[in-house]
């Protein structure tokens, strides 16, 4: 009786074979899955330089970066004050305006609604910022979500001012 319960040499060999087989199968499948991830040519296009000298006060330009629109808005004094004056407790995704705009006059963000990826419309919505026509999310003058189904504020991409007139995104 007790001999039957004891694992045999053959059981060990089976288990070892299955294990090696499973690992091998996993390794073989990985390239088939990973080929769908962004490829080198897509990743190579990861920075864009933008000349902002012609943007007037209160205007927004939209540029394409990694296939996504980037809003670059030169904000008015009123908009900056509005954005800075918001109580963080009123925000769904609390973030200070000063953490979102390196230079308060320039707001640079990814123009993609954090709900399901539509492009919000500028100077619209209940908070004078952006409004997403797809499912009705409202963003304020700092691009922070104030109302609607979007879970997060509009994303701030990595960017830096190369000089007074040029921004490098990415």
């Amino acid at each position: 009786m007790s001999e039957e319960i004891k694992p045999k040499r053959r059981d060990f060999l089976f288990t070892a074979t299955y294990t090696i087989g499973a690992v091998g199968l996993g390794l073989a499948i990985w390239p088939l899955v990973d080929q769908m991830n962004p490829d080198s040519s897509v990743k190579a296009l990861s920075t864009t330089e933008v000349d902002i000298s012609s943007v007037e006060l209160g205007k927004t330009i939209t540029v394409l970066w990694r296939g996504k629109p980037i809003f670059i808005r030169r904000r008015t004094k009123k908009e900056i004050d509005e954005a800075a004056g918001v109580d963080l407790k009123d925000l769904k995704d609390p973030q200070k305006d000063s953490d979102r705009a390196k230079n308060p006059e320039w707001l640079v963000m990814v123009g993609v609604c954090t709900h399901l990826g539509c492009v919000p419309l500028g100077n619209k919505g209940e908070y004078n910022g952006w409004f997403c026509p797809c499912h009705g999310s409202h963003y304020d003058t700092s691009g922070r979500v104030r109302k609607g189904p979007a879970p997060n504020n509009l994303e701030i991409p990595k960017y830096e001012f190369l000089d007074n007139n040029t921004i490098k995104i990415g």
């Binding site: 899955v33 769908m36 991830n37 897509v42 296939g67 996504k68 709900h115 399901l116 990826g117």
Partner: protein
Amino acid sequence: MSDGKYIPKSKLAQWFDSRLPLLTLSHHLREYPTPKNLNYWWTFGGILTFFLIAQIVTGIILAMHYVAHVDHAFESVEHIMRDVNYGWLIRYAHANGASMFFLAVYIHIFRGLFYGSYKSPREMIWITGLIIYLLMMATAFMGYVLPWGQMSFWGATVITNLFSAIPLFGENVTEWLWGGFSVDNPTLIRFYSLHYLFPFLIFGLVVLHIWALHVPGNNNPVGIDVKKNSEETMPFHPYMVMKDFLSLFAFLIIFLWFVFFAPNFLGHPDNYIEANPLVTPSHIVPEWYLLPFYAILRAIPSKLGGVIFMFASIFILIALPWLDTSKVRSSVFRPIYRKFFWVLVVTVILLGYLGAKPPEGIYLILARIATAYYFIHFLVLLPLLGRYEKTDPLPMSISDPVLNQPSLIDKFKKSAAQYEGDNVDSFK
């Protein structure tokens, strides 16, 4: 199966059939016993088979002229419409064929719901059917992306972004789906590849669906078991084949009316504008057959919650054979379930209507009520009805509901009396 062993007549056929039993299969399909009381709601399986094949044939032809590249996709579709011989016809048939396919599948599904066709012993027919339905939705969605119009692009953006709601990995999953940082050329090409593949997976599952059907045999409007190969059944060919054809031709009239007289009625004009990643159309709507789920998605005021409820609304159907505990299959004998069935039909149509409306004001409130009702129907009402509903008595045989109507028997006796005199009792 229950029919006896088939032996082909000729020696050659016997030689062939004993090595590859295609003749036996064909014999089985012809002689397959079907309940004699099947009504026209049972003809939609045949209609669906026709549309699957029609979609594959028109699709393969379109693939000969279409170019899956962001710079050429939109142009190549216009090329099909304007230059390719009969290209307009083939594309309109393919686009409207998808809508007809869904119309037929919804009727097919609701027929199953009404007559309890998902209940034991037919659970696997129901589940393979639902997998087919899921694959159909994925296929239709990816096909809608291929023309690379505004609705294609933004539909693809919104639907793929659903996966970004997944906690922790969401971002990685969407980038993996896109092959980039947004919907772009890699996305288009892989959707094309999968759009070509999936119909063949559906075809394979249809074989399993029919196989699973042929084990217990058809349910029927009365919902009680029939005795196979008795006077209660008829061979599939020619009786059901002819009935299916009549129904198919009637359905084709609707289909061809759309193709020839209103080919763009079910589409959206914005899809004749080439995709532009910088501008979202002011009003994004999916194709009509996805609208009820879209309404559920938007009814929940949270991104992750909306996505979960939307997927749950489909996956809940897989559990249906176990949620509905009533032993009686057909609604004909379930007076209370029958009423709730129609409320469910109205709810789903209402959700479809609301999915096409902006998510605000009264539309949003109604969508929330309808969503709540949808889940209550399956999770609360069905288990309760299974326990407390008083069902009507079931007949002993599928013939009884017809033969036990005194008025019908009188009528029959009267006309029989004309020929047989008073000796009519010999008929019964």
